[in-house]
Amino acid sequence: MQATYLEAIRQGLQEEMERDPSVFLLGEDIGVYGGAFKVTAGLLDRFGPERVVDTPISESAIVGAAIGASYAGMRPVAEIQFADFITCGFDQIVNFAAKCRYRWGAPAPLVVRAPSGGGIHGGPFHSQNPEAWFVHTPGLKVVQPATAYDAKGLLKAAIRDNDPVIFFEHKALYRKVKGEIPAGDYTVPLGKAKVFREGRDISVITYGAMVHVADEAADILAKDGISLEIVDLRTLLPIDEETILASVKKTSKAIVLHEATLTGGIGGEISARITEKAFEWLDGPVVRLAAPDTPVPYSPTLEEAFLPNAMKLVEKARALARY
C-alpha cells in the first residue's frame, strides 16, 4: 500500500496504540484538531481523550509528564508542535529523561516526536534542525527518517524501545514523500543506517530530507560519470559507524550532508569518525555540506540560499571527485 511519510507515521502510532494499551499520546492540539500537521488526525475518535491528550502550551510539562507516565508503566509518545519549541522542554529531555537509567536504573521509555526542518517558509522558529544538541546527550536516542517506510518502521521501533527516543520528522517530507508500506507489522531497527543508493566514487552520509537532495544530485552526477553512494543514517544516535565506514572504505571519498547549520552540527562528528577510523582509505578530505551559520531566514530568496540543495552538492562532489 502506498502511503505518505505523514500517513506512515500516523499508521505507526495507530498500530502501536492498538497493539499496546500502554502507548498514549500527549501534546498540543493533537486531539480535537489532529495536530498542527494533522499527523494524529482521527486518533482521538479512535482511542479517546485519555490516550490522545490535548495539553496546555507547556513543553516542559509535556516531556516531564511523559517521563512520569513511563515510570508508571506507560509508553508515552509526546508531540512537540514544532521542533523549534523543544528548547522549552530541554532540561526535561537532556537532564531528566536522558540520565535516569544511568543514574538510578529507571528507564524512561518515551518518544518525543518533533517536526523539524525548513523549506516551508516557516522562518527562524518553525524551520530549525536541532538534532545535534541531542546527539551530544548520552542516554538519548535520536532518529530522523527519510522515507515513508522508515518513518513507520522506525517510529514503531522507537515506541518499543526502552530508552528515550527523540524522533525528528522532517516536515517538508510529510506530504512530499510517498512509498510502499507493507501490510503487516514491521519495525526498522534503531541504530542501523541504510545504503540508500549504491555508488562507487563518493559516499554521501546524510539523513532526513537531505537524502532526497543527495538522490537528486546523484542523478545529475551520474551523467558526469560520478557515482554517489548515499548512506541514510536514519538513527543519528547511536551512530552506525560500521555502515558509514564500510561505505567510505569502498569509495575512499566522503561528503557529510545535513540541513542543520554547519558549525557544531553532526557533520563534524561523522567527519571526525571517518578520519579517525578510515584515514588510510581516504583519497581526499571529508567534505561537509550544511546550512550556513545563521538563523533560518524567512524570505524565499534567503531560505533558498540557506538550504543545501542538489546543485550545491553537485558542486561539492565535482570538486571532491577532481581531488
Binding site: Y33, D54, P56, I57, H121, F125, P297, Y298, T301, F306
Partner: protein, 336 residues
Amino acid sequence: MTAVANSTLLAPQEQAEAGLWRRMLHYLFLQREVEERLERRLYRQGKILGGVYVGRGQEAICVGSGLAAEPDDFLYPCHRDLGLYFVRGIHPRQVFAQYMGRVGGLTRGRDGNMHMGDLGHRIVAIISAMAASIPVAAGTAMALKFQRSRNIVFNYFGDGATSRGDWHEGINLASVQKTPLVLICNNNQYAYSTPLDKQMACAHVVDRAPGYGIPSEIVDGNDCVAVHEAALRAAGHARMGLGPYMIECKTFRMTGHSAHDGADYVPKHLWNEWAEKDPVIRMERRLLDRCYASRGDIDELYAGIRAEVDEAIAWAEASPYPDPSTLEQGVYEESR
C-alpha cells in the same frame, strides 16, 4: 478623519475624548483592514508564504492599551497585536513587506509575520515560543526602574501563553523586583484549537495575579474605551513605582488560529455571539451616539484607510526580495 461635523460645539474635555475615540477607530479599522488583506486576500493569492495570524475581533485590546502608552514606553506585542505597531508609527507598507518577505519589511525578509520589532520605536519583536517575551519585558522594566525612568513596559500575551513556565518566571521576577510592567492578557478563549478548560483549571487568568501579589482587573476586551481606561490605571500604578499590574481582556478570536485554519472546533453559535460585540462596530456606535463623528466621517475615514492600504500593498509588492548574497550578514556585529 479630515473633518468632524460638530467638533466646534464640544466642550474641551469632550473634544479631547472625541479626538481619542476617533484615533481609536482609526487604528481599529486600520488593523482590521490590513489584516483582512493579509489573511483573506494576499495569503489566499499565494503572496504570503508563511503563517498569517491576525487579531480580528480583538483589535480593541492593542489599540486601546497602545493609546495609553507614552511614546517612550516599551511595547512587547504578541502575535495578534498589529494595532500596536500602527499606534507607534510603523507604516502599513512595512507590515505588508514584512509578511511578503521583502526588504522593505521591518525584518528585511529575515523573519515573517508578527515577528517584527524596532528598537527605535521601542517595540520588541516576539519570538515564536509563547510567553518568552515576559521575562524579557520584565528585564526591560527592571532596567527602566534602575535608570529612574518614568517609562514603563507593556507586555501582551494570550490565554494559552499563561501555561508556559516563562510566563510564571517572568511575572514572578517582575513582581519580586516591583518593576513597572503592565501585563495585558487577551483571553480569546482558545490557544490554537485548545479551549480554556484544557489550558487552565481556574476561571480567569487574573485568578493567578494574587499569587504574584499584584493587582489585576478583568475588562471587556472588545470595548476599546474600557481597555484604554484599564490600561491607564495599570500604567499609572506601574509608573508610580507600585510594580506590575495585570489586565485580562475577555475577547474572542474571530477567525482560525492562522490563515490555514478553518476553526471547525469552535462551536458555531460563538461566532454569532461574538460578532455582535465587534470592537470596530462598537467604536463606531460610540462615536455616532455621542455625535463625535457622523456616518459620513466614518465612511471617509475608512475610504482613506483603504486607499492607504492599497498603496501600501503596492509599495510592498514593489519592494524587492532580499539579495541572497546578504544571507550571512548580521549574525554578529562583525558580520554586518
